[in-house]
Symmetry: C2
Subunit: 214 residues, 2 copies
């Protein structure tokens, strides 16, 4: 029913780092250009080359806290002394236009979004690595981090993985193309759900007018 | 994750008669031979050529009522003086084997199954006709019924259609191949749901053993 207006999906994508989540998200956006990443807000300073509204919305701590107090953050958390969060307004605007939004957040953010007023739009997907050896290999390939940094990431990964059961779907990323196909299938089916299709009400009204006219 | 054992899906397929539901169900079974129709029980007499356990389980009224009293019917209803119902045991056995079962039932049966102990296995799909003119044309093509019989069927169809909002998915059957593809997508995504994958618990246990061994 592609001609029917629908609300967008709010796609929560979580995984331990190194499981291939960013690659999969990029491939989803290549598959459907109307998909977009949500841009987070943060109180950390911009790095060289980062632009406000592109990598992050850069906000002062008082500005950020005022947004939280006003209920303008879908979720937020403090990480290493900086606040990070998802501003609601741009997400809600895109969902209302029928565009799907990807939230790249951890299990704590996921829990907050599932309890937010956008709960009905949520489709949550957890990406698992095929093995921990594989996860560690990808982490080491990606950066020349010290063993200590790697160990810290691995501990965080274990904590993240323990929350897989809170997600609607779990994809084991053994093969990137197979995982992409699985994600596409999930999104197509979720888009077909009756609850995403406000146009159905009008369609059935049309059928009823036809019954009346017989 | 095809190598993981999962529970089967309990697929409720409802539609007004003439919307193409039986054709679609047959095509789904051709797509995946492990899919099967649930065989209903009935108190009506067998017609020539009908076999007990193939078209229906033929039961006496006291036998049928005893099954209902014992909680052995997933759903049942009285239609034109005969009882019809879905015996739970064969359905539960197939779901436990990881096989998907199609229930061809109306909205009343659907409501009962959604409230049964198999609620978590349910995926409910409603098939709508593209128009009422189309529905009537297919009904007239199918049998040389009198205008009165057709009128009765159309009234029942209108009642059935009014319940579309109770279903997880709604498919407008404009084109049989497109509708089949939509159903296949729905089943593939539903099979990937975390709740259908009991094997995931064991998989994550394996990841944790790998963490321990580092």
């Amino acid at each position: 029913m592609p001609e029917m207006r629908r609300r967008g999906l709010l796609i929560i994508l979580s995984s331990p780092s190194g499981a291939g989540k960013s690659t999969l998200a990029r491939r989803l956006m290549a598959w459907d250009a109307s998909l977009s990443f949500s841009v987070s807000a943060t109180t950390r300073n911009p790095r060289p080359g980062e632009e406000d509204g592109r990598e992050y919305y850069f906000r002062s701590r008082p500005e950020f806290e005022a947004m939280v107090a006003a209920g303008e953050m879908l979720e937020h958390a403090e990480v290493f002394g900086n606040l990070y969060g998802t501003p609601s307004a741009p997400v809600e605007a895109r969902l209302a236009e029928g565009r799907d939004v990807i939230l790249d957040i951890d299990w704590q953010g996921g829990q907050q979004v599932r309890r937010s007023r956008l709960a009905q739009d949520v489709v949550s997907i957890f990406i698992l690595p095929p093995s921990i050896a594989d996860l560690e290999r990808r982490l080491r390939m990606r950066a020349q981090d010290s063993d200590e940094v790697i160990a810290g990431r691995m501990a965080k990964s274990r904590d993240e993985i323990s929350h897989w059961g809170e997600y609607d779907y779990v994809v084991i990323n053994r093969d990137i193309a197979a995982s992409e196909a699985e994600l596409v299938t999930i999104l197509q089916a979720e888009r077909a759900r009756a609850v995403r299709q406000p146009g159905l009400t009008e369609f059935v009204r049309g059928l009823n007018r036809e019954f009346e006219a017989r």
